[in-house]
């Protein structure tokens, strides 16, 4: 039986999540992920040094062109490379970290305990399911957020409406994300199979579509301006020192510790409420 959230419960979820901030242990999965993101950023910034050069230099030369191996041109493609490697990182390691965080939060909300290694083991035991769900979810979201603007350019060119399409596809993308929002939690917490987890997520979303969207929208809208600005490298490089691109990406990483925290905690808490726990 799936419950529909009331406004009182909506506020209670936020209060619980804020209270959980008192336990720094709960932040460790996100700190770990941020650390990995910083490593990626450091690697991209030092692409010309061994051992990264052997891999990155031929790739950049092949896919972007020789000019992007030079300073400050490399900053033009830095956000793009970072975002894509970050996506890969999320798929390979991020799913385990999110699974771990979900397990820790669910335990914490239930009995004020959060075992780090037990949660890690639980997430690792469901690794392939988590990856599969992440893959479906990412493809669906990218179809809208990337495919939408590409289709617009193909048919109408990069005219005046392009920015509006970009923004619109971002908001629609969040709706798609919301549909899959509870699938990972279902796999971790209830040990559901992929199809069952997707069904469960859809059912909870249908009953609580508005609150689900709000839980997803708030963290994303906080981080979006920084991500967007970092991707506008032409503008940033023309107005500021190239290092500004790095500062923006660092801001995104630091902010994402908290936005990811709120995203995972609110959705996990909401899942528990919806399941009547």
């Amino acid at each position: 039986m799936i419950h529909k959230l009331r406004l009182k419960q909506f506020w209670a979820i936020w209060v619980d999540c804020l209270k959980a901030l008192k336990y720094p242990k709960l932040l460790t999965p996100f700190l770990l992920f941020a650390f990995l993101e910083f490593l990626i950023l450091g690697m991209l910034l030092n692409f010309y040094e061994a051992p990264f050069a052997g891999i990155l230099v031929p790739l950049i030369k092949r896919f972007f062109g020789e000019q992007y191996l030079h300073y400050p041109n490399n900053f033009v493609i830095l956000p793009f490379l970072f975002q894509n490697l970050n996506l890969l990182l999320t798929g390979v390691i991020g799913v385990v970290i999110v699974g771990m965080a979900i397990s820790m939060f669910a335990e914490f909300f239930r009995n004020q305990k959060a075992a780090f290694f037990a949660s890690l083991n639980l997430a690792l035991s469901k690794y392939w399911r988590l990856i599969f769900i992440w893959f479906i979810e990412t493809v669906a979201v990218l179809l809208i957020t990337v495919g939408g603007p590409i289709c617009y350019i193909q048919f109408l060119g990069k005219g005046g409406g392009f920015r509006a399409v970009e923004v619109l596809s971002f908001f629609v993308g969040l709706w798609i994300f919301a549909v899959f929002a509870y699938a990972t939690i279902g796999v971790i917490w209830d040990g559901l199979k992929i199809r069952e987890a997707l069904k469960m997520s859809l059912r909870i979303f249908v009953k609580n579509w508005f609150f689900t969207y709000v839980f997803i929208f708030i963290p994303n809208i906080i981080i979006w301006p920084f991500n967007y600005l970092a991707s506008q490298t032409g503008f940033v490089l023309s107005k500021f020192n190239p290092q500004m691109v790095v500062y923006l990406l660092m801001t995104v990483i630091l902010l994402s510790i908290f936005t990811n925290y709120f995203l995972v905690t609110t959705l996990t808490r909401c899942y528990l409420f919806a399941k009547g726990e």
Binding site: Y48, A50, P51, A53, G54, I55, L69, H70, Y71, P242
Partner: protein, 491 residues
């Protein structure tokens, strides 16, 4: 088994990863350091006048440190070499902004010494050094520099001129030109020597493009020593023997110009200009040819025919602002000659609207005022000058950093002067001296300030100050004698 594969893949990965271009890291570091120095240079260029001595020193130190750090690698890395060369050039530009000519020369000497094997850069360094000497009016030194460059490559240049930068081929005639500008004795012999050098090469070459260029240099050497007939003869030879080359319309224009301005044979001039407009109607020389034909007709009072010639320029070169603006201004003059005031003013107004970034447009608003004033229409003239003030202000607001900005400021000052607002006029002209001291408008600003102080504000000391500065800084000013006379009168 699995572990073995894992270890093997690890080694392969490390092998790929560690195999890297060892110069890449150095080049990247050099680019980053050069970028930092370049930013400091860019900031300085925005407002060089506002920069302090320390700003210049800091910027120079950045480039000097860069050169000292990377010069050792410039033989091994092409990219580092490019950056080091650019650093040298920026260093020279910094000294130029400070008007430290001796230091510029020492930078060029260093460049010549360090990049002796790079012919292009070496030639450029020599040429730049010589031009500094020319600016300092040290013509003997300039010639010595050119000669030492020429001697370095003379033998090889004779055998294979295409191997070298085109500028190198011009060095002999340039030596003669410098000697002529400096009124040095024997400049005619230098021209003759240059000519004989070119003729020697011509005998050995067979490629059309090379020959056209060399013949043009020979023709120039004749023209610059006043042997017009011989110059025309050579140019005619080019236009008939090498009719397929893209240089022909320019050659025909050169012949027309010699007939027009040197030999005063207008009929012949028109014949050559017509050849261009008929055979190469859309080439840039065709625009000039139409304009000159129009000018000749205008002088002969064949005003309507002249206007038709000018209109052809606008029709054919509508997108070439400079030609079209020249033609439109001249159309205005034809209406003036017919005393058709409304149409004349209409043309000047159009000029301002259609081609704002041209010299003719820039002077048009004030020209309208002066034209009305000349015709005794003082009230209308005052209104025109008021409108001119608005227009120049609008222009300066819209094009804050255009190449035309200093001229617009000067025109604004002139409009203020005509309106009797002398203090405003002085303030605007002084802006040019403060903010645009390296532009051509500075000379006119000095003259303008001298005139306003002398004629309108009756401040004799200030007038003398600006006239004296003008003569001191620009001894080659075309109206130097008139200014000198005015200065004597004031004294």
């Amino acid at each position: 088994m699995r572990f073995r594969y894992f270890v093997l893949s690890g080694f392969i990965f490390l092998g790929i990863a560690c195999h890297t271009d060892r110069w890449l890291s150095l080049e990247y570091e050099a680019e980053r350091n050069f970028f930092a120095a370049g930013k400091s240079f860019e900031r300085l260029l925005i407002h060089p006048k506002a920069a302090s001595e320390e700003d210049f020193v800091r910027c120079r130190t950045l480039f000097r440190n860069f050169i000292d750090r990377y010069i050792a690698y410039s033989d091994s890395s092409k990219r580092v070499s490019q950056l080091v060369k650019q650093a040298f050039l920026n260093l020279a530009s910094l000294y130029a902004l400070e008007e430290k000519f001796r230091e510029i020369i020492s930078i060029y000497n260093e460049m010549i010494e360090r990049f002796a094997s790079d012919t292009v850069f070496l030639t450029m360094s020599y040429a730049a050094k010589a031009s500094v000497y020319e600016q300092l009016a040290e013509y003997d030194s300039a010639i010595a520099v050119y000669e030492s460059l020429f001697d370095r490559f003379k033998g090889e240049l004779k055998e294979n001129p295409t191997r070298f930068p085109p500028f190198l081929l011009e060095v002999p005639i340039r030596i003669a030109r410098v000697a002529r500008s400096g009124n040095l004795s024997g400049y005619r012999e230098r021209y003759a020597r240059a000519r004989s050098f070119y003729l020697q090469i011509i005998q050995k070459r067979s490629r059309q493009e090379d020959l056209v260029g060399l013949y043009q240099l020979v023709a120039q050497s004749y023209a610059e020593t006043g042997s017009w007939e011989k110059a025309v003869q050579i140019l005619n030879k080019i236009s008939s023997q090498y009719a397929d080359t893209s240089q022909v319309p320019y050659v025909l224009l050169e012949i027309g110009n010699i007939y027009l301005s040197k030999m005063k044979n207008f009929q012949k001039a028109i014949t050559y200009y017509r050849k261009i407009t008929d055979r190469y109607p859309y080439s840039p020389p065709a625009a000039t040819a139409h304009l000159y034909i129009g000018d000749m007709l205008f002088v002969q009072n064949r005003v309507k025919e002249a206007r038709e010639e000018y209109r052809k320029v606008i029709k054919k070169f509508e997108n070439h602002a400079q030609f079209a603006a020249s033609a439109q201004f001249r159309i205005g003059l034809t209406y003036e000659k017919e005393e058709d005031r409304a149409n004349a003013i209409n043309e000047y107004e159009w000029l301002w609207r259609k081609y704002p970034l041209t010299y003719e447009a820039m002077i048009a608003p004030n020209y309208v005022g002066s034209y009305l004033k000349k015709n005794g229409l003082n009230t209308l003239a005052q209104k025109a000058f008021l409108r001119a003030v608005d227009r120049y202000k609008e222009f300066l607001e819209k094009y804050k950093r255009s190449e035309w900005t200093p001229l617009a400021i000067l025109q604004l000052a002139r409009a203020y002067k005509e309106l009797g607002k002398y203090q405003d006029a002085v303030r605007e002209a002084q802006k040019i001296l403060a903010d645009y001291k390296n532009t051509d408008a500075v000379v006119d600003a000095y003259r303008f300030l001298g005139d306003v102080y002398a004629d309108d504000l009756k401040d004799i000391n200030s007038a003398k100050y600006y006239y004296a500065l003008l003569l001191e800084k620009f001894p080659g000013y075309p109206f130097a004698q008139a200014v000198q006379r005015k200065l004597i009168q004031l004294q």
